[in-house]
């Protein structure tokens, strides 16, 4: 939606492996990853981003049992064939943008990107998988990047509660029958994967969610040229 007008979008092209969509109403071209109008009557406008999570279906359903799920197209089965191994297939595709000599990541390394207060940082998915929870600071904001119980869902939260930054740990007995929990070192309150304190002194409090963009490194870098990369030691 732009200026109170609802637009209808179509896939219309590709720009260095990020797709371009066109709206039917004005013919403007929009870049998918940024939501920015790059050509046409609405050039320079940007679609408002809606906060989203990228989760496993099981995790989402546990959290939102009353939710609704997009039904697959019934009049065409092409999506099924295409999507069977799309992730593996896509990972093998060549990358057309230039890799920089100082890059520590492969072009198709998957990163979780954060933009805060004009600063950007990429968290390699591999780092999150190995070292969750990652505790860091972006644009002056103390934050936490954490891998869910399913080992696939990733979320980021601001760690400041009542003006103080908490330190978070994932409970060691996670997966041992009990529910997955984090706790903070200061009050030892227990927090679930939605960022809500479920037990302890801070019970009922909610950590502020930080939008994450799951992207390939080459694409993240293209749209966030000043990005920092979370350094981790791959064994």
């Amino acid at each position: 939606m732009s200026d109170g007008r609802r637009l209808k979008f179509h896939l219309t092209g590709i720009n260095n492996q990020n797709f371009i969509m066109a709206d039917e109403e004005t013919g403007t071209w929009w870049q998918q990853v940024s939501g920015e109008a790059i050509h046409g009557p609405l050039k320079g406008r940007r679609l408002n981003g809606v906060f989203h999570d990228e989760l496993t279906f099981a995790t989402w359903r546990r959290e939102r049992p009353q939710g609704r799920v997009l039904r697959p197209s019934e009049d065409n089965d092409a999506w099924r064939k295409f999507s069977e191994r799309w992730e593996e297939q896509t990972a093998k595709l060549p990358v057309v943008t230039q890799a920089a000599a100082q890059d520590t990541l492969a072009p198709r390394a998957v990163v979780m990107g954060v933009n805060l207060n004009g600063a950007s940082k990429a968290y390699p998915l591999e780092a999150v998988e190995r070292q969750s929870p990652l505790v860091d600071k972006v644009g002056g904001v103390p934050l936490l990047v954490v891998l869910g119980e399913d080992k696939k869902s990733v979320r980021a939260f601001e760690t400041t509660v009542d003006g103080r930054a908490l330190e978070f740990y994932v409970k060691a007995d996670a997966g041992g029958g009990g529910a997955w929990r984090m706790f903070d070192g200061e009050t030892r309150s227990e927090w679930d994967f939605t960022g809500r304190a479920v037990a302890g002194a801070l019970a009922g409090r909610q950590l502020k969610k930080i939008p994450l963009l799951k992207d390939y490194w080459f694409d993240w870098k293209l749209y966030n040229p000043q990005t920092l990369v979370y350094a981790f030691n791959a064994p």
Partner: protein, 165 residues
């Protein structure tokens, strides 16, 4: 100008129009290829050509057809064949300008439909979904579907939303 020179010029105009119409449509196709690097200038040129192509190609086709009619009389049979053949790329360009070839491979969802979370049998537990929630309306878009359609339109909690992947 004698008749022969005039006819030569008309032939030249015909060829130029056909080549131009063809290029108008296929330069953007060439520039915006999935496994080719794009430059801002190339994307900009493609946008300009594509936004005018539905208008330019029928006009070019009409002009080309007019020239074919003019040149038809007094032309030997094999030149008539050439005239007809020249119209083929002009017709092709006109037809192609009305198409969205990206949607040939990735067919859009005409109307998105939804199933209650507890009734879903078409998504594996381990499959990723893109989840949004607005005003208590929680929706999951399975990434497998988004990766194919690229664009899914919805209204979530009263807010018009386009989910893209």
């Amino acid at each position: 100008m004698n008749t022969k020179t005039k006819r030569h010029l008309l032939w030249l105009a015909l060829v130029a129009i056909v080549v131009a119409a063809f290029a108008w449509v296929f330069v953007p196709v060439w520039t915006i290829q999935p496994f080719k690097a794009q430059t801002p200038g190339g994307v900009s040129l493609s946008y300009t050509l594509r936004s005018w192509s539905t208008l330019v190609t029928p006009v070019a086709l009409a002009l080309a057809a007019l020239l074919v009619v003019v040149l038809w009389r007094g032309t030997r049979w094999w030149m008539k064949v050439a005239l007809v053949l020249l119209l083929v790329p002009a017709v092709a360009a006109t037809w192609f300008a009305q198409q969205n070839h990206f949607e040939w491979m990735f067919k859009p969802l005409a109307q998105s439909a939804y199933v209650a979370a507890d009734k879903v049998d078409f998504v594996g537990d381990d499959e990723m979904v893109l989840a949004v929630e607005v005003n208590g309306d929680a929706v999951a878009y399975p990434v497998r579907q988004l990766a194919y359609h690229h664009v899914v339109e919805d209204t979530v909690g009263g807010l018009p939303v386009v989910s893209t992947y």
